[in-house]
C-alpha cells in the first residue's frame, strides 16, 4: 500500500498535495483498493467552493458508492476531466494520473491540521485490522 510521505491525509482517505498556490486533491491508494473497480465519478464544477470535511462528489465503484469529502476549504480551480471517460485512472494511479480536483485560495493552516503519512499509515493499519 502506497502512502507518499510528501502528502497530507484525512481520516476519510483523501490526500492533499501543495503545489505552488494550488492544492491537488485525490483519494488514497488504500481507498481505491477498498472501493474496487471505479466506474463513474461525479465531479464538481470549476469555481465551486469547497468546505473542509463536507462532501463534494461521489465515486461509484462496481460494489458500492462513496462520497468524497473536501480535505480543505477553497475554490476549485480545475477538475481532472480524464476521469469522465477513464475513472479507472483512480484505481491505477491514485496519486498521479488519478488526481481529482485542484483548489486555490485555501488556508495553509487547514492543511497543517491534516494527518501526516505516518499518522495515516497507523489509521489504515487499524482499519484494515492487520
Amino acid at each position: 500500500m502506497n502512502t507518499p510521505n510528501d502528502l497530507k491525509y484525512t481520516k476519510d482517505h483523501e490526500w492533499v498535495k501543495i503545489e505552488g498556490d494550488e492544492a491537488i486533491i485525490g483519494i488514497t491508494d488504500y481507498a481505491q483498493g477498498e472501493l474496487g473497480d471505479i466506474v463513474f465519478i461525479d465531479l464538481p464544477e470549476i469555481g465551486m467552493h469547497l468546505t473542509q470535511f463536507t462532501a463534494f462528489g461521489v465515486i461509484e465503484a462496481v460494489k458500492a458508492a462513496a462520497d468524497m469529502y473536501a480535505p480543505i476549504s477553497g475554490e476549485i480551480s480545475s477538475v481532472n476531466g480524464l476521469l469522465d471517460d477513464s475513472p479507472e485512472l483512480i484505481n491505477k494511479s491514485p496519486y498521479e494520473d488519478g488526481w481529482i480536483v485542484k483548489v486555490k485560495a485555501f488556508d495553509i493552516e487547514e492543511v497543517e491540521t491534516l494527518m501526516s503519512a505516518e499518522e495515516y499509515r497507523k489509521l489504515i493499519e487499524v482499519e484494515s485490522g492487520d
Binding site: 474496487g36 473497480d37 466506474v39 463513474f40 461525479d42 461521489v58 461509484e60 462496481v62 460494489k63 458508492a65 484505481n91
Partner: protein
C-alpha cells in the same frame, strides 16, 4: 457466530482474495478485481469456489412425491442424470427459495442458497411425507464452478468422462483430477461450463489441478462480486434481491418453472394460479442513461409517481453501462418506457429494455 470457512479458504487467502462475510461464511469477494474477473469468464475461463451452497439428499420410495409437492417444477419428468431449476413456495405463494433438483438412480439431491439453508432445511423437513429420508450434506460437500468458453476444454484435460455427452442441465458421476465428482453442466454465469461437487477433503486437489490445467487458457479465480455481475447480465434471479417471501414466481419471471397442471399439485399452487390472472407488477430490466449505479431497494419513479423499486443493480462490463432489474407496476412495465431511479436523492433517467442484457455468442 464465527463464520464458516470453505475447504478452500487457505487457497483464497494465498491468492490475495478480499474475504468478506457472506451467508454465514467467510468468502472471497474478489481477487484481481470484479471487472477483470468478469471479463475473464466471458472471454476465457474462471473458477469459483461456491462451497457455501447447501446440498440436501432425499432417499426412499416417496422422495419423488415429496419433492414434487415441495417444488413448483415437475420432478416426475426428471430422468436419472437430469437436473431441474425450480422454486419452493410458502402457502401464500411467496418464494421460500430457488433451487436445483438432481435426480440420481436411487435418490435425489437439492442445491439451495447458503443464506436460506437453515430455513429451507426446516421447511422441507416439516413437509416430508411417507417413506423419505432427508440429509443435509452441505458441510462435507465442496462445489467448484468452472465457467467460460474454455471451461470444457480445460476440464477435458483432467477427466476421462465424455463431457460432450453431458448436455445442459444434466450430470454424470465421474473422476476429475482423480477425485470423485458430480459433473454437472450448469452454472450461474450464462457461459458454458460445469459445476463439480466433490468431497470437502478432495477440494484442494481438484482446485490445484484445475489451475494447472487452465494455465494455457489464462484461467483465473473469480469471487462473489463477479458472480453477481455475471448473473445480472444474463438476468438470472438472485434470491433476496429479485425474489423473496413477498414476491410470487410469476411476477419474478419464473412462470416457466411453475407446472400448475402436474399431478398432486404443490405448496402455494392456488395463490400462484391467482397471480397468473392478476399480477400487478413485473420484474423488468433497465439501463441507466445517466451516470450512476442503481442499488437494491432504490425507488423507481414515473414523473412524480412511485411505480416500483430496484431489485438488483450493477454495472455491466460487457455493455459498459449501468444495468439493473426492477419491480415496476403495470402498465408502466413495457419495453421502451423511460423511468427514473432515485439514487440518494438524485433522479436518474433509465429505460426499460429487453432482457437478458447479454447473451453469449
Amino acid at each position: 457466530m464465527q463464520p464458516k470457512k470453505t475447504a478452500l479458504y487457505n487457497r483464497h487467502v494465498a491468492l490475495g482474495a478480499k474475504m468478506v462475510p457472506f451467508a454465514g461464511f467467510i468468502m472471497p469477494v474478489q481477487y484481481s478485481g470484479i471487472l477483470d474477473e468478469h471479463l475473464n469468464v466471458r472471454n476465457k475461463v474462471g473458477v469459483f469456489d461456491v462451497s457455501h451452497m447447501g446440498e440436501f439428499e432425499f432417499r426412499g420410495a416417496d422422495a419423488e412425491k415429496t419433492l414434487n409437492y415441495l417444488t413448483t417444477n415437475n420432478v416426475a419428468k426428471l430422468e436419472p442424470g437430469g437436473i431441474q431449476y425450480s422454486a419452493m413456495l410458502f402457502d401464500d405463494g411467496g418464494v421460500v427459495d430457488d433451487l436445483l433438483v438432481y435426480r440420481f438412480e436411487n435418490h435425489y439431491m437439492t442445491v439451495v442458497n447458503a443464506a436460506n439453508l437453515d430455513k429451507d432445511f426446516e421447511w422441507m423437513k416439516s413437509h416430508l411425507k411417507g417413506d423419505v429420508e432427508m440429509k443435509d450434506v452441505s458441510d462435507q460437500t465442496s462445489l467448484l464452478a468452472i465457467q467460460g468458453p474454455d471451461a470444457v476444454s480445460l476440464i477435458k484435460k483432467i477427466t476421462n468422462t465424455p463431457l460432450d455427452e453431458i448436455v445442459y442441465y444434466n450430470f454424470q458421476l465421474g473422476k476429475v483430477a482423480g477425485v470423485n465428482a458430480i459433473i454437472s453442466r450448469t452454472g450461474y454465469t450464462g457461459e458454458d461450463g460445469f459445476e463439480l461437487y466433490v468431497d470437502r477433503e478432495d477440494s484442494e486437489q481438484l482446485w490445484d489441478a484445475v489451475f494447472e490445467a487452465g494455465e494455457e487458457y489464462g484461467v483465473k479465480p473469480v469471487g462473489l462480486g463477479a458472480r453477481d455481475s455475471l448473473r445480472l447480465e444474463v438476468c438470472f434471479n438472485l434470491y433476496g434481491n429479485d425474489m423473496d417471501q413477498t414476491t410470487n414466481p410469476i411476477e419474478a419471471g419464473l412462470g416457466w418453472i411453475v407446472k400448475s397442471k402436474k399431478l398432486g399439485g404443490f405448496i402455494g399452487k392456488q395463490p400462484v394460479l391467482d397471480a397468473k390472472e392478476k399480477t400487478t407488477r413485473k420484474l423488468v430490466g433497465f439501463i441507466l442513461i445517466e451516470k450512476g449505479i442503481a442499488r437494491h431497494n432504490s425507488d423507481v419513479y414515473l414523473g412524480d409517481k412511485k411505480v416500483g423499486y430496484v431489485a438488483s443493480g450493477g454495472f455491466s462490463p460487457m455493455l459498459e453501462k449501468p444495468i439493473g432489474l426492477a419491480y415496476v407496476d403495470k402498465p408502466h412495465h413495457e419495453i421502451g418506457t423511460m423511468i427514473e431511479i432515485d439514487l440518494r436523492g438524485r433522479r436518474l433517467q433509465a429505460e426499460i429494455v429487453q432482457t437478458p442484457f447479454y447473451k453469449r455468442p
